[in-house]
Symmetry: C2
Subunit: 611 residues, 2 copies
């Protein structure tokens, strides 16, 4: 039944040889990899507005200059990734580039930064999406956490089904959003040209003076507009061949769209002097001011919510891929590198879903509270990746390497300075969490790899003497709870593998054991029964004591085998009606370390009940 | 380490023979069994007030008459239980009395009603306790759920430690409460006598007319004052000998205290014309009005909170006892009848703690929302118990049986009418939940017993032919994940129990199997290795298919034994870094039902990693 539900939700399993077919064409890839980058205008705009509005109309007058500065940074970063795709056609994310060119530690720092970035992209996109729709329907405002989590579940299921189907589903909201916003911006530009600029007379009075810190703060928050731009260079192998060429074209188109949407919306907001009310985003105020509160406004808000929901998908494409790369290198649990039924990294998807859900709950679904954790990780990854590319070109020295190295160098410098600005201006509000988390994760990566190395060393057969000793058949002990039909199979099996079989009964109440012994000797007179008293009413302790005693008495270089008669109920919920004693004994024996070099075999003889 | 924490919190295990020593003297027993009954004045008063205040001062003028009617009911119920203790000195709760005298179904109805009553006592006492302290410290008001749950955890731990220690800890708040309240009531009575009655000029204007329904409604809600009175007759075996005599005296004292506290506080509230503000209980308003808002007022509120917290303890004494009785009769899972390390019914305590916590969360920690579920169950249990006592005296026909039967008959009539009044007047607000739940529980009880009977039938050895067939040694299959040191023990063990051993490798990627085979044949040339391809990257399915095939090929009346090499990490969290394949295989084999009559033995050969 469970398996039927799974197939209904996730589709039937796909065989491994279909792996190469799961590729995306350019239109699908733009839909799969760009939503975060495109949709980030929603929260980046909002954060610039919130950062400047505290300084009143003088502050808001700086929106467009800050927007242009961020756009310049966007172009530099895009140029860098354009070259990364060329240098790493097999998919060069920040982790691979930094690891190959700068060394293991910078690579792992980049990887941690990337993982954190993906996680926050998912959380921020979902909460910002819900805030967009709650601007139109204020009744949703108190339920933002639940709505965000519901969207998270939908996105997770779609991703577990597999990338191509996800790509198709995602394409509709992305192109709807582009159509709606580009139309609105064109209409707004025309209006601004005809009517002339508005005046910020309704802006709130300044509560703080317009200092350099306020400007840097708004710039830092606005830098979240660039998040997601690296997804394409991470995902080159998902493109249809020729992969690199298709990926570069897609990146160019995406960068252009980002610049138009970002500069267009920031610029129109300032030129038309839009001011947001409480419990409303600035983009909702812009759309409402331009289009009225009719169907056109609703289309804008709905498509914003949709693309932001889809934006979380960028993370679901990127996070499991980076986690799988790390797992393949032994830095994360191996389970993260395995392809699931549907040829996606199912465990990585689930890990991302759970941590994103936790983050949304912990921060109460509030985008503005999450943003300070965000940009510092993303820009650190950018910086390391671009520094790595400089080294890459310098080592390769192909045609025109100086220009390429210079472009990446400028990118590294610009993003590196951004890291410092963001880390400084947002430190107290939350950037410290990310700054602490990155070295913690890197230390964890090394711990994980050390564990795998240690296990491999212990499991190695190198230097093991040839195996030729004949082994005697084992001594067998059967713990019994009574004399019943489940025992028949267990005793029969024990006698089939050994001639040295004994039973043990753990006695809670004095006298119970003798009653059992009478029945036992009727059925199995040849199998001795030992009665072990248990004054504290525990089964495990006295049983382990008894096993230790017999092992010591025999001292034959082996531990007695335990045969467990275990009856299996016909329905799983019947298990609630029975003591899980067999399970407890198995667990206790499995995890108990005794003498080095000896192992105690545990034999489970199930007896299936019929109903 | 876990076991160390457990002993620190719960104390070291106690041997079974100490069971008889865990008895309570009368002062301890009053503290252990009376807090619910005594403290119920807090919420019963509050509910009478809330029920009448909607009819304004004309409504509030009926407080004392309703309070006296409920006190009359209290005396009748107490007389009935007084006789129950005499008739059932071994501890006659409603379940035992109704089962013995009325039959199984009425007994189980009483048992369900009791279990629900205990559960609601715990939930209502905790939330009402928090509301008492939040009346004094309004900052706590928004955090009522968390505070209630914290108190629940403390109570649960104390109960898991064992009854006597709990009795000692509980005595302090109970006697503190009695001292504080009786002093306040005496002072209030003196003031009322000197100053004369107050006037209800500050009472809110009536929002509904004073109808019979309003009066019945207030009476129903006030009946919660009687909850907990049956705890002593359930718990007779916990008293020091002579048990019955001590229990009867304790019941008399408790009833007297209940009557004084209830009538005293309801009466003073009406005579002094006390009216409560928002976010304040009526008892807080009474204490504040009498004593000012100084230390004396704080003592009242703190002792109310303490005794209400302790009141939840009545449930922790009663619920596990009733559950254990039902479990002994096969109506509830057997685990509920087992004494834990500390000679208490630990599983029953945990079950109560979890369901109470769920109820508090589901009802948002609001006492007033929980109350409608409460009285109908409690009074149904009273009615069945007292009807059962009538039958008991009639059957026994001892000296003066007619008087005893008549007293119990009057009690049954009065409480039976109360059930009807409560069920009718509170139906829509929540009594329907209890009314639906009781038959559901009874049906569940019968299902559980039917399951146990069926299992006993299937496990019975009656009619089994004598066991004399010699059994051949098993065929053995070892699923392998690679060639490493963990395999050495598994293969050696397999060879010690059988000469027919084979290995199987489930291959995800074509070619991997042949690489394994090369190494395998170097170490174990005598053990054949089968490679089973798995195009969908699943281990379990192909392995089960392979086992089915070999079993069919051999057709020797047995299923091949599976030997699982399982390496056990040195630290439990290392388990997160490894696929749990061995565990998955074990589970799949254990729960898979194949041919009737054949069982597949599963052998676990652990290999312990050192660090």
């Amino acid at each position: 039944m469970l398996s039927g539900i799974k197939h209904l939700l996730l589709g039937t399993p796909l065989p491994t040889h279909q792996l190469a077919h799961e590729r995306l064409n350019k239109l699908q890839a733009l839909a799969a990899f760009s939503p975060d980058a495109l949709s980030s205008i929603a929260y980046a705009n909002q954060e610039i507005y919130l950062g400047l509005v505290i300084a009143g109309s003088a502050g808001l007058a700086l929106s467009l200059p800050i927007g242009l500065a961020i756009t310049a940074l966007l172009v530099l970063v895009a140029l860098s990734y354009f070259q990364t795709i060329q240098g790493y056609p097999s998919g060069g994310g920040s982790y691979v580039v930094a690891r190959d060119n700068l060394g293991m530690v910078p690579g792992l720092v980049a990887a941690s930064a990337l993982l954190i970035g993906y996680l926050l992209t998912a959380a921020v996109s979902l909460t910002a999406g819900v805030e967009a729709i709650a601007s139109a329907f204020p009744a949703l405002w108190p339920h933002r956490v639940i709505v965000s989590l519901s969207l998270l579940v939908v996105i997770t299921l779609l991703n577990l089904r597999g990338l191509r189907e996800t790509g198709t589903v995602m394409a509709i909201p992305v192109y709807l959003f582009l159509f709606a916003y580009l139309s609105m911006l064109a209409y707004g530009a025309a209006r601004a040209f005809i009517d002339g600029p508005g005046s910020l007379t309704t802006a709130p009075l300044p509560s703080v003076p317009l200092t350099a810190f306020v400007v840097l703060h708004a710039f830092s928050a606005g830098c979240t507009a660039l998040t997601g731009i690296e997804a394409i260079s991470n995902g080159v192998p998902s493109f249809q061949p020729p992969e690199a060429k298709n990926a570069r074209r897609t990146l160019m188109v995406m960068t252009l769209l980002m610049a138009v949407l970002f500069v267009g919306s920031v610029g129109l907001t300032q030129i038309l002097a839009v001011v947001a009310g409480p419990q409303e985003t600035i983009l909702s105020a812009l759309a409402g001011g331009l289009l009225g509160r009719g169907p056109a406004y609703l289309l804008i808000q709905v498509s914003t919510t949709l693309i932001l929901t889809v934006a979380a998908n960028t993370s679901f494409a990127g996070f499991p891929r980076v986690a799988a790369l790390l797992a393949n290198d032994g830095f994360l649990p191996r389970q993260l590198s395995g392809l699931g039924d549907r040829l996606v990294f199912a465990n990585g998807i689930l890990l991302l879903a759970v941590t994103t859900g936790g983050l949304i709950i912990a921060f109460g679904g509030d985008t503005h509270a999450l943003i300070p954790l965000f940009a510092v990780g993303v820009f650190l990854a950018f910086t390391l990746s671009q520094t790595g590319m400089v080294v890459h070109w310098w080592r390769e020295r192909g045609r025109g390497w100086q220009l390429k190295a210079a472009l990446n160098g400028i990118g590294a410098l610009a993003t590196g300075m951004t890291v410092l600005i963001v880390g400084f201006s947002k430190f107290v509000e939350g950037a410290w969490i990310t700054i602490l988390l990155i070295p913690t994760l890197v230390a964890g990566f090394f711990q994980v790899r050390a564990h795998y190395h240690e296990v491999a060393r212990q499991l190695s057969l190198d230097g093991l003497a040839p195996l030729d000793k004949p082994t005697p058949s084992p001594r067998v002990i059967i713990p019994i709870s009574g004399v019943h039909r489940g025992m028949v199979d267990a005793v029969t099996y024990a006698q089939s593998i050994s001639s040295d079989v004994a039973a043990v009964y753990v006695e809670f109440e004095p006298g119970a054991g003798e009653r059992i012994r009478e029945k036992w000797e009727h059925w199995w007179p040849e199998v001795p029964l030992v009665i072990q008293p248990s004054p504290y009413r525990s089964t495990i302790g006295p049983l382990l004591d008894f096993l230790d005693e017999t092992d010591q008495q025999h001292d034959d270089g082996q531990l007695a085998t335990v045969v467990l008669p275990e009856f299996v109920p016909a329905r799983w919920w019947h298990g609630l009606l029975h003591n899980q004693t067999a399970w407890l004994i198995k667990t206790a024996l499995l995890y108990r370390r005794r003498h080095l070099g000896f192992q105690r075999a545990i034999i489970d003889v199930p007896h299936h009940l019929q109903r």
